[in-house]
């Protein structure tokens, strides 16, 4: 997994108002054509997921065995699966599972990982040592094997898969937040706040979190894509979403059994995953370029 360690922003950014910094970043982001198109594509997928019941003419769960494995046609634009279920309806409802999964995994890992890294950076000493060694242990596992071990313990299911993938992401956020936090800790405005007796919680809320936000925003956007792939991967292996829920990974796994006769069953969910992940990656790259000027020259 990519870990874009965003470096500290310059002193200059600390004196500019957040609004002007946000406006400057937005201006840069808008100039990146690929990122803007990707943002629009993501927006369309989100709308498709929200309005799936209205866009799909049929239920994604309605079985009709007499219509099983039908090729794409006017009645079924993306064909039907082995139970005669409409593939388009399942792809549209699968967007709900995928986007929901991406957001939930990122929300869990971001919250706990940020807290983890913040404690490590802010309090240092024995806290830092212990918390970072725990992160080392988590990162000593190939991530999918760690996720599979957690699913083996909790049992297969969507929630379990989300928890498992979120756990594998947490140390990445912890390391990221710690690296930025350590730099912030030594800056004058934080030292000044400490010297006038500001409480730890106040320093974290007013000085650490706003300065961490750009870095976390970039990492979170990139992780939405990887989370969708990773949970879909667990579903592909039969460890995530369970039937009959519409899910792109599970659809690919089922479709593989009919690849010789009905290849459309693996095309539609695969292209759907590719579009969403590609868009999330492009938006993430665009945000990184816009929020961290030093990365721009490498793009």
């Amino acid at each position: 997994m990519a870990l874009p360690i965003a470096e500290l922003q310059g002193e200059e950014s600390k004196v500019t108002s957040p609004t002007s910094e946000g406006q400057r970043a937005w201006r840069h982001f808008r100039r990146n054509g690929g990122a803007v198109i990707a943002l629009v594509a993501l927006g369309i997928v989100v709308l498709a997921a929200i309005f799936a019941p209205w866009l799909a003419h049929q239920s994604p769960y309605a079985q009709n065995l007499s219509q099983a494995l039908q090729a794409p046609s006017g009645a079924h634009l993306l064909g039907t699966d082995e139970y005669g279920r409409d593939e388009l309806a399942r792809v549209l409802f699968g967007a709900r599972t995928a986007l929901g999964t991406g957001l939930i995994v990122v929300a869990i890992s971001l919250t706990i990982g940020t807290l983890w890294g913040m404690l490590s950076a802010f309090y240092g000493g024995i806290w830092d040592m212990v918390l970072m060694r725990v992160a080392d242990v988590f990162m000593a596992f190939p991530f999918l094997l760690l996720a599979l071990m957690i699913v083996a313990a909790l049992g297969p299911g969507l929630v379990q898969a989300e928890i498992a993938i979120a756990i594998t992401y947490m140390p990445v956020y912890a390391r990221l937040v710690r690296s930025v936090g350590l730099g912030l800790k030594s800056l004058e405005f934080v030292q000044a706040a400490k010297s006038v007796g500001a409480r730890d919680a106040t320093i974290i809320r007013r000085h650490f979190l706003p300065n961490l936000l750009p870095t976390l925003l970039v990492q979170a956007t990139l992780n939405i894509g990887t989370a969708i792939i990773d949970v879909a991967g667990l579903s592909f292996l039969g460890m995530g979403v369970q039937p009959p829920t519409a899910d792109w990974g599970a659809m690919l796994s089922d479709g593989q059994n009919f690849i010789l006769t009905s290849p459309w069953l693996v095309l539609a969910p695969g292209i759907a995953i590719l579009i969403v992940v590609l868009a999330a990656n492009l938006v993430g790259d665009g945000l990184r370029d816009a929020l961290d000027p030093r990365q721009r020259h490498q793009a």
């Binding site: 997994m1 990519a2 060694r133 725990v134 080392d136 242990v137 988590f138 000593a140 596992f141 190939p142 991530f143 999918l144 094997l145 760690l146 599979l148 071990m149 957690i150 699913v151 083996a152 313990a153 909790l154 894509g225 792939i229 879909a232 991967g233 592909f236 292996l237 039969g238 460890m239 990974g249 690919l252 796994s253 479709g255 593989q256 690849i259 010789l260 290849p263 693996v266 695969g270 995953i273 590719l274 992940v277 590609l278 990656n281 492009l282 020259h297 490498q298």
Partner: protein, 334 residues
């Protein structure tokens, strides 16, 4: 250098100890009643009590951990509940197959990735750079399981060039020398079997290599762009050195630090990707063994595989750190 090696080796010990504790907690504490899971939903309370006693689960947690720890350190991973073999034996059979797959994928990803990254940086902002970066973006965004399925569809079904199931044609008998099918076929002088094993390896290796290849290309390009703008390379060009020599000899050598790091990190991605690749191509390696073990609730086998994978990953990271220190003496003295 020796002091650094010793220091780094000692550092790996607490991490490995942490791995053992994490696996113990993961598989002994969280699931609640392990004996119930193993015995199944229809087991009687008496059967569960008996199994609980046999597995030592009625002892205090600390005693359980100590027994588990001593056994693992002595290399005893227990008996597979599914196959009734020693776990080490099952892993020993499956591991060389995964090793062959990951080595093939690593070679493809490393060689093609570094080459493409250097080319993209040397021809920055040209059509070649754009083309490579499009491939990178798609490679990073494509789920490995879809890549595999698409390759089966294109090169296995529509234009049948390569087989897409198992590691060798059924019925082929190979002597067990290394356990790696391609190597065993070559060592035994059976060229027909070697060709067959190679053909079986092509699609899974490309599938597994796609994501690391894209990632290595991107990182190599970034590192090379950074190095190519340095003053000493401007000097090299100014004194009349050919561009080819500047890029491949001077720049690549100095960009090698981040490239080595990313190569090491990608080994983890390969071990994870192997689980999916082996499932898609029905390859009887460690990944497929793990999935079957989870589905059967074969906890000793799951535990053995996870510990082995983590140990390999820790050792690879250790190796990367040592190469890193060898390449950059500043690290040894920091």
């Amino acid at each position: 250098m020796l002091a650094y090696v010793v220091r780094r080796l000692l550092w790996a010990i607490p991490v490995l100890l942490g791995v053992l504790i994490a696996v113990f907690i993961g598989l002994h504490v969280v699931p609640g009643n392990v004996a119930q899971s193993i015995a199944g939903a229809h087991a009687t309370p008496a059967q569960i009590r008996l199994l609980t006693h046999q597995l030592g689960l009625d002892k205090p947690l600390w005693d359980q951990f100590w027994v588990y720890f001593v056994q693992i350190v002595q290399g005893h991973f227990g008996t597979s509940l599914q196959y009734h073999n020693a776990v080490a034996e099952d892993i020993g059979q499956a591991f060389p197959i995964t090793l062959q797959l990951t080595i093939a994928a690593f070679i493809i990803a490393g060689v093609v990735g570094v080459l493409a990254g250097v080319l993209a940086a040397a021809f920055r902002n040209t059509w070649l750079d754009s083309l490579i970066m499009v491939f990178v973006l798609v490679g990073i965004s494509m789920p490995i399981f879809w890549t595999g399925v698409m390759l089966i569809l294109a090169l296995g079904v529509d234009f049948p060039m390569f087989p897409f199931s198992s590691v060798i044609t059924a019925g082929t008998v190979l002597p067990h020398i290394t356990g790696l099918p391609l190597v065993d076929a070559l060592l035994s002088g059976n060229l027909a079997a070697a060709g067959d094993a190679f053909n079986h390896l092509v699609l899974p290796a490309i599938t597994l290599a796609t994501y690391p290849l894209a990632f290595i290309t991107r990182m190599t390009r970034g590192a090379m762009i950074e190095v190519l703008s340095q003053d000493y390379l401007r000097t090299a060009r100014a004194k009349g050195l050919r561009e080819r020599s500047v890029v491949w000899k001077h720049a690549l050598r100095n960009a090698s630090l981040p490239i080595v790091t990313v190569l090491g990190v990608q080994v983890g991605a390969l071990l994870s990707g192997a689980v999916l690749t082996e499932t898609i191509f029905a390859i009887p390696g460690i990944g497929r063994l793990m999935i079957q073990a989870i589905l059967f609730r074969d906890y000793p086998l799951v535990q053995g595989i996870v510990i082995l994978a983590a140990c390999i990953f820790v050792l690879i990271n250790l190796l990367v750190d040592l190469i890193y220190a060898r390449l950059d003496p500043r690290i040894r003295y920091s």
